[in-house]
Point group: C2
Chain length 386, copies 2
């Protein structure tokens, strides 16, 4: 099997993107999906609701790539021009598909209820097959022409994701004979990017044959990423070497997160629930734990209070453990000092200090992650001593 992956271009269509009214979260989501599937996404283009520009972008994409994906511009109004743009690029005519028109009428409960403009969403071209949209009125399109593929999907993230997962991704796997990109991430906290690189020696430059390596500074620490289009087992060696070089500064791999590990350490210590107190962090700890909870569908974080200078701290909610973080105010640059206290059965501690790097905007989240990392480390120490 060839090691070269099929290539793709993504068109994110809509003037609201270029005006900054909407952040294009679809691009990153599809980027991750395409990488995992083994398609090499070579570019993303945000373009306006302009039929000529859209047609030109489809034509240019199809001249260079195996696959062109598009999101947005499938609505019922006059500035939804994705269908027309693709028709122009392919030299085909739009026509109203009777099946789609009937389905739309049914969706609206009959002719009388459907705005006439919605019939735009029943348009097709000869080489397109409709893609079902179970949670919205805009059907997608799947087009095959001369060994190349186009998928049009709605811009609403939930609709796009459902259509991708159920209909587009399976078709691509079937048609393109894909080699998935295997990827492993090693996550560290407490070291700077250059210190991590130094401890790794030549691992980043020479991670192994047909393996790519990258290093990324994030609010939740410095991450290493190893990837290959060959067998995933090749990645075990560089991951093992990285963990061995970095020791306890590695907190996990892949989908592991500091909130999850901190809550797991507390659980092992006997604390099922957590509340938080913070100052100087703009509620970052509370926001991170609430987002973690929402993502995991848990009910172990019970809430947090924001401490105000000169007032007596008060436990914010009934919980087994209370984590307190105070970020000292400082100038716009350089290192900051974070003081962390943990009241928890068996593993609590008073005022440990962490130092974090980063600009003013990054510091609150980095301070919160530093606190969660100290909880994780306290869990290791406790177990080591037991």
């Amino acid at each position: 099997v060839a090691l070269t992956a099929p290539t793709a271009l993504l068109l994110s269509i809509g003037s609201e993107l270029l005006l900054g009214e909407t952040v294009d979260i679809n691009a990153a989501w599809l980027g991750r999906e395409l990488a995992a599937l083994g398609v090499d996404l070579r570019g993303v283009r945000q373009i306006p609701d302009d039929r000529g520009v859209i047609a030109g972008a489809f034509a240019a994409g199809l001249a260079e790539h195996d696959l062109v994906l598009a999101t947005g511009g499938l609505g019922p109004t006059h500035d939804d021009l994705t269908r027309g743009g693709l028709a122009d690029a392919l030299g085909e005519e739009l026509f109203e598909d009777e099946g789609l028109a009937g389905a739309l009428r049914d969706r609206f409960g009959g002719d009388a209820w459907m705005p006439a403009s919605n019939l735009r969403q029943a348009q097709l071209i000869a080489s397109a097959k409709p893609l079902d949209n179970p949670i919205g009125s805009a059907p997608g399109w799947w087009v095959e022409r001369e060994g190349r593929f186009v998928a049009l999907m709605p811009g609403v993230p939930a609709e796009m994701q459902l259509m991708w997962i159920a209909q587009v991704a399976p078709r691509l796997q079937g048609k393109l004979g894909l080699r998935p990109l295997a990827m492993r991430t090693v996550k560290t906290f407490g070291l700077g990017e250059s210190a991590v690189a130094e401890r790794l020696g030549d691992l980043l430059e020479a991670p192994g044959e047909s393996i790519d390596a990258g290093i990324y500074a994030r609010d939740d620490g410095v991450h290493l990423r190893f990837s290959t289009r060959l067998d995933a087992s090749r990645l075990e060696d560089p991951v093992r070497r990285a963990i061995s070089a970095l020791g306890d500064d590695v907190y996990g791999t892949d989908a592991e997160t500091l909130p999850r590990l901190a809550l797991a350490a507390l659980q092992r210590g006997g604390a099922s629930t957590l509340a938080s107190l913070e100052s100087g962090t703009d509620g970052a700890l509370l926001a991170i734990l609430a987002a973690h909870q929402a993502a995991e569908g848990e009910a172990r974080y019970r809430g947090g209070a924001l401490l105000v200078d000169g007032e007596r701290p008060q436990a914010p909610a009934a919980a087994d453990a209370v984590l307190t973080v105070r970020l000292a105010a400082q100038g716009a640059l350089g290192r900051s000092r974070v003081a962390v206290d943990l009241a928890a059965p068996g593993m609590g501690f008073d005022t440990r200090v962490a130092r974090i790097h980063g600009s003013g905007q990054q510091r609150p989240r980095r301070a919160a992650f530093a606190a969660l990392d100290l909880v994780r480390r306290a869990g290791i120490t406790t177990e080591g001593g037991a």
Copy 2:
């Protein structure tokens, strides 16, 4: 003065964008800035760390547009290729600038402390002037060639934003003779998009000469936007007509937000501080209020607790007022019921119910905004009755 705005292309450079490791929030931020400044952003391209691709994108952008902006790829490592790509596109040679090299050495506290690779960040071409980066090591570039302009900025949002505000935007205003786009937003809560459109009659279709109108459904309500490149005072008439047609369902204009209005209503009623309780909302109310507080630099929100079924609610923090929101679990689609209670001096209420629309992902935030809107409305009623 011509009404046609100068056009621009934005290149977002970095393979991590195409792999979905990073969401390109810079594009939307710059999109808003460019629109306000009077530059017509015609496209955004996310491209990989590939010098040939980068050079091709700069060349294509400069052939078509007055301005090409780029973010990312200015770091010190071998895959930071934006400088080289632009040099290739312009047919110029990279050289090491002594002034930049000296400034970098100073930043690192002397030669011995600076990794040699950082000298890449001291590279320039003859037609580029460096742009200072007070909070990071990567200087930007400002390039003028044959009446066209290029600005290279770092990918780290805080560094990019500071460089844009202090150095790039002022240069553009000076060089391009810009006509700013005047924009007004009218924000409503409690009505669906089609109900808002119906109450407005023909205002969206005919907002006035040289005025554009748009309608957008957001988690914090349906927003109307009016814009013009002529005098800003032209927008007063459509804004006044919208407010008059929509009455109390309008909560504000432009930068007004529901958290700010709810806190202001409480303040007028005598409650300086607020705490929250919520269930079924994944901490959305807490997250919105913490983010508001961080953005405004306030200390009036004191924290929130997440209610767990079967446990007794407990005030999460010492505060004058407590807002409670409960979102009933429901299927993936359709309307949901939100129950809201407010304990507050003079304006508290028991269990008011709001109904919200939206998919599963949207509901928690919409429920939180519905609660804040009920607080805002309670403030109006109280004052009306006083």
